[in-house]
Symmetry: C2
Subunit: 262 residues, 2 copies
């Protein structure tokens, strides 16, 4: 048996999320179908984690075991030619049998993108949450500081979470302002343009990044203060935090492992 | 009567081009339907020019005449709320009755985008032409120099052109390399990443930018030299130039007018 590791990128717009569901159109279904067409094996891929309907991935990681003897350098193109155009394998490697995309993951990074512009950018409409109300970036940046470190994130996770512990560690959480958009002929009127929220942690709870983003937008609007972020962590109550921000602004950016260099 | 000027942005992926066609799904049809829903007037908009099926616009300009007395500052949002999500009005102004989007246009800029990367960027799949063969940018830049100025572009226009004269003036033609793509986990292997070809002129013939882009890619591949661009201008023969590059890489970037400042 061989263990194959894939990095894949997908546009989640047309899918009911990553993970297989009965009678549903998911990224995992499409990937498993492509591997079946290639190898004839009905395999099950392990993803580093789920992504919800409409959520994208720049660098989702999966692995699967196969007895196929196709050389490793052929896998990427062979799978890509059997995938729809909105899912692409970026990289294929052979890894030790002990590797498991979910259990071996050390850190994950998500990106949530807010376009704080007067008019939405038509080319980014499926990848950015358009929010035209001017946002105060400095206050948002202050708010993010409270999230860094080990905390109980019960206030920032869906009530549908089945995890026993809501304690997670956040290593980085910061905003990046995109260089002045080349796109819209768009006077800013005090808006801050395209904002990317990057957040890296040892693991994330169900809807955690989207609840953080929804709460952070309220901070940016002045409906909450930065200090509220700390009070929310202490409260451990989902009902006290902001709304779950829309799925299409979210991208699973990167998953990190301790793997030997190629 | 009032004359309304609109700047609009659209993702051309789902449309049969800009201009109305019988029984066809076009950007102009959608825009006229939206204005009809708003005003009850069956108006005809004048575009600065056509764009083909699959071609996008960042800043297409149209105008139309109406007797509606809706205040000018309401038009943008009122039309947008009646348009599909892949067409957006960026700006609405009232202009003198003499203004005509096509006849008054002074300069137009198009952008053609080539992603010279190993793996395509899934999020840009409808906006960039993916060409994985390494390209020599310096030779391409030299080739573009020959296009600047007034020339007969017969070699670079579709045989279906109905224009009497193929003489046009190109003011600028240059390549811009996008800063190292944030997207793919993609060793470049000598490829140059995302290249934007910007080309500004007093007018463009049918397929002109796409034939220039198709020929320029052959220069980049080493199948032609930069000097061939000059020889092609002299030849005035479409059959001697390169292929028409695929539509989805092309965007009508900007249309310039001599209009009084707002």
């Amino acid at each position: 048996m061989r263990n194959i590791f894939l990095v894949l990128s997908y546009d989640g717009t047309s899918y009911n999320g990553f993970q297989c569901q009965p009678f549903k159109n998911t990224v995992q279904d499409k990937l498993q179908e492509a591997i079946f067409k290639l190898t004839g094996d009905q395999i099950v891929v392990e993803g580093s984690g789920r992504t919800d309907a409409g959520v994208h991935a720049r660098g989702q990681v999966v692995n699967f075991q196969t007895s196929s003897n196709i050389p490793i350098e052929r896998w990427r193109m062979a799978i890509n030619s059997r995938l729809p155009r909105d899912i692409i394998v970026l990289e294929a490697r052979e890894v030790p049998l002990s590797f498991h995309a979910r259990r071996s993951a050390k850190r994950k990074t998500y990106r949530y993108t807010i376009s704080n512009t007067r008019v939405p950018d038509v080319f980014q409409r499926n990848y950015q949450y358009h929010h035209p109300v001017p946002l105060h970036v400095t206050e948002m940046e202050l708010a993010l500081q409270y999230l860094i470190g080990e905390h109980d994130f019960s206030s920032f996770c869906s009530g549908r979470s089945t995890k026993q512990s809501h304690v997670r560690t956040i290593y980085h959480a910061y905003l990046e302002r995109e260089a002045a958009s080349e796109n819209p002929i768009d006077p800013s009127d005090g808006r801050c343009g395209v904002l990317h929220l990057y957040i890296t942690g040892n693991g994330f709870l169900y809807n955690m990044v989207r609840v953080i983003a929804g709460t952070l937008i309220q901070v940016g609007e002045g409906k909450r203060t930065a200090m509220d972020m700390k009070l929310l962590l202490d409260a451990k109550d989902r009902l006290k935090a902001g709304p779950t921000a829309m799925a299409h602004g979210l991208t699973l950016w990167d998953v990190e492992y301790d793997l030997p260099a190629e």
